[in-house]
Symmetry: C4
Subunit: 267 residues, 4 copies
């Protein structure tokens, strides 16, 4: 029976074998369906018309997820290593809300935690180009995390100051009822989102807002610049992996067959 | 008559001869007029005042397009290769709505498919610099398609989670009547479009929204960074105008001394 | 008197001498005042309270500008070369509206043409670093004009198609009263401006809009990428103007004193 | 006692010793609390419910800050060098509003000046990577300040012209009551903030606005391009960590063999 368990382990936890891939893809489809279900259930008109169908599907999917969860614990050698892993916790949190819903109202929305299960997709795509390219983005973001932290800290200070000045200029009768609301406005403006739910109405306020927006021009350029500079560096790095075995030149285009410095064949 | 047909073929299908160019440019003008017509017809006041003029023009242009379509089928050796080609299908779809309009109401709007005929412009400009530079953009976008896919997948997961959290925080009375609407809000906010048709009104909602917007800062930097890094690489590549005199390969780095395809010396 | 005229020519038309610089700076101040005047005059409350002061200042400035214009024609050798030059036409258009205002109502707003006179600032700054750096931006934009044209053409086609689809989905009762209005909405959305004066209200419309916005993500990255790639190239170019006279190496940092390849002194 | 004063000086003014670091971090926490206090006090509901608690905390923090200020003056050798320094003035301005509030109403909002005290954080982080990376951003922004000035000047001219044209097209009944308001709209639109508090309603206005937004596409690309190009250059520069062993110059290109300042060989 040990071998059966081993084989099941490979199917459920790994994605290298054909059976394992089929299992993971089917699981992904069920996860997508379960998210669609949560989303549809929140639409009042759909909930009213298809109440029973949605409820039954809900319990069906929760059943599948519960079985899968128990199965995973049973199949693995050290259950604790799974239960307390990132995916283990998410898998548990995905089924809990439905059960809790029997006793507690309002826990329904937490089922969206299932969306995090989608991250499993990265395990299926494990070996191919997507992960590599994704890794470049992640690496670029990680490399620039200090620059971005400094930038975010500067933006936070700026946003507090701008929000307070605007609160002093406009006052409560124009929607700026408190400093937090002024800060909210400053964030909405500096990020160029601009809802318009709160906007300056006095002349001085509009003048100051124009000034803030033009500053925002330079500010929005900074994170873009940081990430772009990092990505340019990363993508330059990844294209030049070939090194000429004769003269050690390393600036070859990706499909190069011969060294562009000494003319010898590359391998 | 074969030669006449051959000559007509060259005029209608090719853009190399002078007559062919004149034909293509005139066709382009008619296409532009036909789009303008569809656009104007949709404006109630213009439709009321110029009803007959617009109707007549409509049938005139449909007539020209129909004749052109029949002509193309008659002139080409293998009609099927045209009929089922990308342009052949668009050409047919451009005239169908007017005829269908005799029997069916509401098919009028589909005439906008004609806008796709504008893509013919790239055939007229076939040989010159515009296409080359356009090709650089297209190549840069194609090269970065995997990075952009990974990015879009991450954004989709994020948008589902943010939309649901906002739905839980704000609730139906503030416009967030369902999770899909919350997701719509999340997209509007993360892309910095910010209509303001739905916007947070509770303090917690505004705090969370500020947080989302500042995250959006870093997120919007990513696609820009991807495309810019790729375009920088592309435009660096194209600056090396060296072509190997032996094998005509043309993708050399700027300081290349030897062809990277055949190993011969570059001059 | 010829020499007086010559000297006056140098003061008025050139900015190399000290007197010429003083003249140009004073002129710039008057131009700024004249623009401020037009702007203030348009504010109803200010116009009511300071009517006579504004009217007198208006005629005073028009008088100064008229005198300057006549003076320029009198001082230059070939008046036609000034009258029909870019600056000559702007100078004339700057004074005409005030005179026309005696006979015609509504010509007042055209006085804003004076803002174009501000471009004279570039003549004063003629010889220094500002113009050089400005020239880099202009050159980068000019170099990328073909890429930007192709991009704009693609955006225009896209905007027509998106606008029409939205017109078909939402219809007149939700603000999309005609295709031009749909196109206006598409431009507002794709550029991430997002006024919210027209926004989708049906579920299908909001779904399609979300799709458009996420496409807009990739689209907004393209012009940024084009300009950045060009600016990176330009700024790389401008830093390496020094060439080693001994080994011809040319990749020196701006303040380099010695060649980094052969160690010889740079001059 | 001199040594005690010296030791206190090191604790309060420096951040190198352990005690100094603890002092600075505690101070930072108090500053954060004081800002939170100002922010919360501005929320009407909180102010009503916790009036006395807030008032007492306010005076407590003002007391701490006042003591700290007096202490700093007493401890330093040349008090003037502190009193008239950047931090000295901010420290004074942080406590003044509370005292002034005894005599004057409305001075409360100025307490937000305390937010500027947060900049002290950069003294605590003095020696580590954050400051280095932050310095890269600052250097990139400083290097591109001339390009950005030219750009801002061009944008200002553009915004005045666009705002006036829109004022002429739309007129007062559609919200464009004066040229300054038109300019405000132009800034809101070009920066893609797009509140929607003022937006074009006539067909001509919407057509012109679409045109402005598409121009804005190219315009928003420029500052991003400037900063990105500069940051790319900066981050490329910093990768060459070679320092000349003779003259300690450190701005070498990556493949440099000789020092560009003294001409000696690098190893």
């Amino acid at each position: 029976m040990g071998t059966t368990k081993d084989r099941l382990y490979e199917i459920i936890f790994e994605a290298d074998t054909k059976a394992g891939k089929i299992f993971d893809v089917s699981l992904l489809v069920v996860i997508l369906l379960s998210i669609l279900l949560v989303v549809l259930e929140s639409v009042p008109s759909i909930e009213r018309d298809y109440h029973y169908f949605l409820k039954i599907s809900e319990w069906l999917i929760t059943g599948i997820f519960s079985l899968e969860y128990i199965f995973r614990i049973w199949i693995i050698q050290k259950p604790k290593s799974y239960i307390f892993s990132f995916y283990g916790i998410i898998d548990l949190l995905s089924v809990l809300p439905t059960y809790l819903g029997l006793f507690l109202a309002g826990s329904h929305g937490f089922m969206v935690i299932r969306a995090l299960r989608l991250l499993r997709i990265f395990r299926i795509l494990k070996l191919n180009r997507y992960v590599k390219e994704g890794a470049i983005i992640v690496r670029a973001l990680r490399q620039s995390r200090i620059k971005i932290s400094v930038f975010l800290f500067a933006v936070l200070t700026l946003v507090i100051i701008i929000g307070t000045i605007m609160y002093l200029i406009e006052g409560g009768e124009n929607g700026f009822t408190s400093i937090p609301r002024g800060i909210y406005w400053a964030v909405v403006t500096l990020t160029t989102v601009g809802y318009g739910d709160i906007s300056p109405t006095t002349s001085l306020g509009q003048f100051f807002a124009s000034f803030v927006m033009i500053i925002g021009y330079a500010i929005i350029a900074v994170p873009t610049g940081i990430v772009t500079a990092e990505l340019t560096k990363q993508s330059t790095k990844t294209t030049s992996t070939q090194v000429c075995p004769y003269c050690l030149a390393d600036d070859h285009v990706e499909e190069a067959l011969f060294c562009n410095k000494c003319g010898k064949k590359l391998n």
